[in-house]
Symmetry: C2
Subunit: 167 residues, 2 copies
């Protein structure tokens, strides 16, 4: 009896944890899968937009970071993923002249694959909104529209920040 109870308890625990894991991964945006783990990617740059009062960090997967740090970004290599994480501005409590991240707005991504995404200029465009990471789905139209002025820079606004190189 004890063994049967243990079996069902274990089964329920396994099923529950699976359900949670699946349920918690956001649905695709523009048919692109959520890039699980982006929150631990490395920085490529930061930016502060005073037109809409937002603070940003631009992150990359390992391929993008390697390309950024070595200046091989026009074009960016296939496999590179760039992430832009956006927060509303907030004044830093203990340093009034500093702007810091406030409310989380969204995380948006560019997935470089010159073949797969050849109809959208070599990039897959995706965005997940709010802390619930609700997928944005317009086929990338608004992303492409905004990024058109930088089409000669492989569609990216970001100038990678300069980091000291230590061998």
């Amino acid at each position: 009896m004890k063994l049967i109870k243990l079996f069902f308890t274990s089964l329920i625990m396994i099923l529950s944890s699976t359900d949670i894991a699946v349920a918690d991964t956001p649905e695709p945006s523009n048919n692109i899968d959520y890039p699980v783990g982006w929150q631990k990617w490395s920085p490529i740059a930061v930016s502060h937009r005073t037109d809409n009062n937002t603070s940003r960090v631009i992150l990359g997967n390992s391929i993008a970071v390697e390309a950024a740090r070595t200046g091989k970004i026009n074009p960016w290599p296939d496999g590179a993923i760039l992430g832009k994480v956006v927060w509303k501005d907030r004044q830093l409590k203990d340093w009034k002249a500093a702007t810091a991240p406030g409310k989380f707005v969204h995380a948006e991504f560019m997935f470089k694959d010159s073949k797969k995404y050849n109809k959208t200029y070599g990039w897959g465009w995706a965005r997940w909104v709010g802390l619930s990471q609700k997928p944005f789905n317009d086929g990338g139209k608004s992303c492409i529209s905004c990024h058109t002025p930088v089409k000669n820079r492989d569609w990216t606004f970001t100038d990678p920040a300069v980091f000291p190189t230590i061998k």
Copy 2:
């Protein structure tokens, strides 16, 4: 004769590569070893200081990032290292209302070890300046002086940015 030549060539190559590796790792700052690999740490926050026109990303080692994302930061856990990477402001070329990283200024770090650094409030304070990463050595006096207003926040200014949690 060939073997002797090969031996000495190999020896010279080994010694040279060792020399290069050692020479390229910056000297300690305030007796603290350079945290090799910080350029690939994950972000904790960003900030933009309008009093001295600098853009910053605040990074952490894995212990610090875990603490930041779960709000366990007063006190920060032993082993946590926080890094603040500072650039002079630059206007983003293709988006005039955005400030982006320009010239690299320095990278400064706080190393949490409540026992080892108990004389300096539980933190080791270090800074490496410029792209050559020249160590700054004042025993942490200037760091501590500036951070004294936030001593009740375990000596840190940074409010970790909110990131969406995906399991």
